[in-house]
């Protein structure tokens, strides 16, 4: 690790303002991804701003009938919250499918959204990676790409976003609340938080410099059967090959988002109208224009079969 100063912020606005005053700063909350990357010299901040004391650790009901999840709410606490378990089961299931008990106890809501890809070429500093070192190339495209993206990818990057939680939040139409260094706040639909890689895979979100996520808001519950189906190489503590987050109503309509296929949680709202026609029709629309590699083309079939299984399971629950 490179040397860094360590500062504790007392409020979200102070944290954002301080971040703008110093060079090469990062916010740290759980730290489970950031410290991992700092040990590998992939992240090299010179100032760490600890936001654990800024008071964003509650889950509150909103006047509209939804829930506002503080940015610092730990993954364990979010999954265990009785309101989340009752009305947003998809989110609880996605959280519990991710990481390990030790990590979920520490990892935060905002940190989960902002975690970096687990592409092995991003992690190996001896390899070319446009995300880690812009302009150096992408060793993944002709490399071991079995785990990597199949849609929305570019010639510069085929990395995937690793989060399970974000897939559920995408299907739930979550909103991300932020504060900027000048104290202004805004709401960003989760759909617009993560970018596709394009020519600048190093720019992963639409957040501006030193903008701090303060909360994630879930709209009013929509009912339905909530299913998160994660397919991975071992049955626990592994990232997804692909995952399906679905909310399916009794009439067969619903919402679906995919993990493990793209640089962001992948949802195509216009495709959802064909859900009652079955998994094949849905997959064709969801993954239209996919450009898999030779090694990860199996994900197209895997998505279709997993969707079929999820839809069958929903029919049993209906």
């Amino acid at each position: 690790m490179r040397p860094f100063t360590y500062l504790r912020a007392k409020s979200p606005a102070e944290a954002a303002a301080l971040a703008a005053q110093v060079s090469d700063s990062r916010f740290i909350a759980g730290g489970t991804n950031l410290l991992d990357l700092m040990k590998l010299d992939i992240e090299t901040p010179t100032h760490l701003i600890d936001v654990n004391g800024v008071g964003l650790d509650r889950i509150e009901a909103t006047p509209e009938g939804g829930l506002r999840i503080g940015a610092l709410v730990r993954n364990t606490d979010l999954a265990a919250d009785s309101r989340i378990r009752k009305d947003y089961g998809l989110l609880a299931r996605a959280l519990l499918a991710g990481a390990s008990g030790q990590l979920r106890n520490v990892a935060t809501t905002a940190g989960n959204l902002l975690q970096r890809t687990r592409c092995p070429y991003f992690y190996d500093t001896h390899q070319a990676c446009n995300k880690r070192q812009p302009g150096s190339g992408c060793a993944a495209i002709d490399g071991f790409s079995r785990q990597l993206g199949i849609i929305g990818v570019s010639t510069a990057c085929i990395a995937t976003h690793p989060s399970d939680m974000a897939v559920a939040m995408r299907a739930l139409d979550a909103l991300v609340e932020t504060v900027k260094p000048d104290g202004t706040t805004r709401n960003i639909p989760l759909a617009e938080l993560h970018r596709l890689p394009g020519a600048t895979p190093n720019i992963e979100t639409t957040l501006t410099a030193h903008e701090l996520i303060t909360a994630v808001t879930l709209p009013t519950p929509i009912g339905g059967t909530h299913i998160y189906q994660k397919v991975r190489d071992r049955s626990s503590y592994a990232f997804a090959l692909i995952s399906v987050g679905a909310i399916i109503q009794n009439d067969g309509s619903g919402r679906v988002a995919l993990g493990g296929v793209a640089h962001k949680p992948w949802r195509v709202e216009s495709a959802e109208s064909v859900m009652p026609q079955g998994a094949k029709a849905l997959t064709e629309q969801l993954l239209a224009g996919a450009t898999p590699t030779h090694q990860n083309a199996f994900k197209l079939t895997l998505v279709e079969r997993t969707l079929a299984a999820v839809m069958a399971q929903a029919r049993e629950h209906a």
């Binding site: 504790r8 005053q21 740290i28 008990g101 520490v106």
Partner: protein, 207 residues
């Protein structure tokens, strides 16, 4: 808004002290690291005793326990949160001590394997691991035991897991729940079946 640096608690301060680096760190990294170590003070409650530490800000909780406090029961395996050998209990919750900075733990209450029991007075989980031969080489064992103690607490507290059939009913103390919850602790000797038996027995004893 205008903001003064004085409104923040600035913990880091530049010192000229040099640090000794282990030989496996590359020359390039050691030049960068030795350039400018920054130190900070923190008080952590470890096994019910306050410990004042003056540390390089880069020191993980794991390294503070092992190198500064000589509590070498907690083990360093992968140092990247993948193996669970460094698991300790912080404020009642199990965490990977390798993926958190010591300076982030001002006032935290940390329990390590040394705080769970002693050779004369074993924690029931330690006794169960011995009885069921829940290890071979023993390297992962302190992390396994800290994790297992916390797992029983998580099930008692009704925290669901990936293996819980229902999100609305309390989780049960059964092998599938324990296996899923222990997946963050790897054992390269493969003592898993005995580890599950040990945790089961400790769970029944505490029920």
């Amino acid at each position: 808004m205008t903001i003064s640096r004085r409104t923040f608690l600035i913990v880091g301060a530049v010192t000229a002290a040099s640090v000794a680096l282990p030989p496996f760190i590359s020359v390039q990294a050691s030049i960068a690291n030795a350039a400018r170590p920054i130190k900070a003070s923190v008080t952590i409650w470890v096994n019910d005793e306050p410990r004042d530490l003056d540390l390089d800000t880069r020191t993980t909780l794991l390294d503070a326990l092992r190198e500064n406090l000589q509590l070498t029961g907690t083990k360093k395996g992968c140092d990247h949160g993948q193996c669970g050998a460094c698991t300790v209990i912080a404020n009642g919750r199990r965490i990977n001590s390798c993926l958190t900075l010591a300076v982030m733990h001002e006032g935290s209450k940390i329990t390590t394997i040394e705080g769970l029991g002693t050779p004369q007075q074993l924690h029931p989980m330690q006794a169960a691991f011995i009885k069921h031969d829940g290890y071979q080489c023993g390297y992962c064992t302190p992390g396994q035991i800290c994790s297992a103690v916390a797992v029983l607490g998580e099930i008692r507290d009704g925290i669901p897991s990936h293996a819980s059939p229902s999100l609305t009913e309390p989780p049960k103390l059964i092998a599938s729940e324990i296996q899923e919850r222990m997946s963050g602790n790897l054992c390269r000797c493969g003592a898993y079946s005995n580890i599950i038996e040990a945790i089961n027995e400790a769970a029944e004893a505490s029920a």
